[in-house]
Amino acid sequence: MAIGISTAQMIIAAVIATIYVALVVPLGFYTASFLLMLALPMALGFRQLVYALIVALVFMVLIYLVFSVLLEKPLPREALLSLFAAGA
């Protein structure tokens, strides 16, 4: 059965969104989101890694400023941070 490109793209996006939802709590919000910002455009065929990296960084900083600094909302904890804490 032939699947059109747009359907394939939709399925890729839906699958990655599901994986993101599954990983956002165990990995931590910022880690999972940063990975998503890079992985999803790449999976959809975007090839300018530097561009995606810059947009991801700017966006994550904005999210951090709004949600963690300004509104002080608790988001899923970063697994990486507790890893460093355990190592020290």
């Binding site: 490109i5 747009s6 359907t7 793209q9 939709m10 890729i12 996006a13 839906a14 969104a17 599901t18 993101y20 939802v21 956002v24 709590v25 919000f29 989101s33 998503l36 910002m37 992985a39 999803l40 455009p41 959809l44 065929g45 975007f46 090839r47 561009y51 995606a52 947009v55 966006f59 999210i63 949600f67 509104l71 909302k73 608790p74 988001l75 899923p76």
Partner: protein
């Protein structure tokens, strides 16, 4: 009058004022990006406003709503891509104008027309709203039951292409609305032994999924890897010629009237208001054939019509508690989050809040004049250069933050994802999503009212129909449902004869 001057004093303080300016700018931006829509933006924003002052929260809703209706005109004119469904009619004459090199002028007309439509609509809301709220003083539980049913039926019938699918969607919303603990008996319904389902599904969680995920998946389908080039986005400011504005006034008056009328009716939205206004302008013109070839009147009619729909759609929501569209439903849920019940008591108990929200709808429309100028529009047009594939993960992240901060429960993320995927497929088969949301809101209201009415009448169901207002509302509901059926039957008979 005191009602509004009091409210105005509160609205003109630091918080609401900055919220209005920021949200109107954000709204223009959201409207200008095809794939993002105001409902999605407001749904994503609402969870963040839980801890805020209600007037600030409502200022943001007003700004995004009004701003995005204008913002949709920017890509509609420059690229013939409507930024929101309501700006489809704007492409008819807006893009031909841009083609002739008059893009900046078309944008300026769109900006002024949006502001005029929004202002007219807000004035209608401020005058009709309080009057209509008084009618509800005569309402008992039976009337509230029928008005909830009427709201669901009319939105279900009018919003989509197929009334049967619309009603199906409303019933699905009703079903979702019954999940969780029943308020009157304390019985758990459809929870399958899961404790997280005891409270039912959170409206905002479902709404974020339903309204934000399908556009995200559609953006992914398009795989826009490049964005637009700078050459497509050149604009130069042009002042209006003498008498040009005066020529638009009759169109503005007509389109405002149509937009306000469409707004008050439940079900029909900004896109219908824009189409009707456009057609009315065309019919009234001396030279109908110039429409579709870059007639400024066409742009003015469409943009004025879709903005005039906005504040007017809040009239039934604020006064009767019946949302006519999803944005109005969001405003109602924003009110209930802050413990406020829509209806006449709202006008008496919280005049500052209701009056303030109405003032905010008015002021954000005025702000479009200032913020929608050529300079701002040029900045917004630049955002069109962002490749669509980068927007996809950004929106997904915003959805997750928004949903997570409501209750801090990971399970809500799965509910959102499931709702979103369901919404995507429902839209594919032309099932409208708005009735689902309205069913979720109005279902519990209908249920509680009917049970209270039956308690009062000691279980006598005829009581639901014997009071004059409730009988009239029941009849109106019947007509709303019977009308499309009759139309379909006549059409079928017509094809048989031929």
């Amino acid at each position: 009058m005191e009602f509004y001057t009091n409210a105005l004093a509160h609205v003109l303080s630091f918080g609401p004022l900055t919220a209005m300016i920021g949200a109107t700018l954000l709204g223009v931006f959201i409207g200008a990006l095809p794939g993002l829509n105001p409902v999605m933006a407001i749904a994503l924003l609402l969870p963040l406003t839980y801890s805020m002052d209600p007037l600030v929260a409502l200022a943001m809703v007003a700004g995004i709503y009004n701003g995005s209706m204008y913002g949709g005109a920017i890509p509609a004119i420059l690229l013939r891509i409507p930024g929101t469904p309501a700006s489809i009619a704007t492409t008819f004459d807006g893009f031909p104008m841009a083609d002739k090199g008059e893009a900046a002028k078309a944008l300026k007309i769109a900006c002024w027309s949006s502001a005029v439509g929004g202002i007219a609509s807000a004035i209608a809301l401020m005058t009709v709203g309080p009057l209509l709220a008084r009618v509800t003083l005569f309402f008992g539980p039976a009337e509230y039951f029928w008005i909830a049913i009427f709201g669901m039926a009319s939105v279900g019938v009018m919003v989509g292409s197929d009334p049967v699918k619309g009603i199906m969607a409303a019933v699905l919303g009703l079903l979702i609305g019954t999940l969780g603990i029943d308020n009157l008996s304390g019985q758990a319904r459809f929870t399958f032994g899961r404790t997280w389902l005891l409270g039912g599904l959170d409206l905002i969680v479902v709404l974020v999924g339903l309204y934000a995920l399908p556009p995200v998946l559609q953006l992914a389908e398009k795989t826009d890897l490049k964005g637009l080039s700078a050459a497509q986005l050149k604009l130069t400011n042009v002042p209006f010629k003498h008498g040009e504005v005066r020529g638009l006034i009759p169109t503005w008056i007509r389109a405002s009237g149509i937009g306000i009328g469409v707004g008050i009716l439940p079900g029909a939205g900004g896109n219908i208001a824009a189409f009707l206004s456009y057609n009315a302008a065309k019919n009234a013109s001396d030279d109908p054939s110039s429409f579709g070839k870059g007639n400024p009147q066409g742009v003015a009619a469409a943009e004025c019509g879709n903005n005039a729909d906005n504040a007017a759609s809040m009239i039934p929501a604020l006064s009767l508690g019946i949302p006519g569209n999803v944005v109005a439903a969001l405003v109602l849920s924003a009110l209930t989050i802050h413990g406020l019940q829509p209806g006449p008591q709202l006008f008496h108990q919280n005049p500052v809040l209701v009056g303030g929200f109405m003032m905010e709808m008015l002021l954000t429309s005025v702000l479009i004049f200032a913020l929608g100028g050529a300079v701002a529009t040029r900045v917004f047009a630049q955002f069109q250069r962002l490749p669509g594939v980068l927007l996809v993960p950004s929106i997904l992240i915003l959805m997750c933050v928004g949903v997570y901060v409501i209750n801090g429960r990971p399970v809500d993320l799965w509910v959102m994802l499931a709702a979103g995927l369901a919404g995507y497929f429902l839209e594919k088969v032309n099932v409208p999503l708005a009735p689902i949301i309205l069913g979720m809101i109005l279902g519990p209201m209908a249920e509680q009212s009917v049970r209270r009415a039956l308690l009062i009448s000691r279980g006598d169901a005829t009581e639901l129909l014997t009071r004059p207002i409730s009988a009239a509302l029941a009849l109106a509901t019947l007509l709303v449902i019977a009308w499309p059926i009759a139309k379909a039957m006549r059409r079928r008979r017509g094809t048989k004869a031929a």
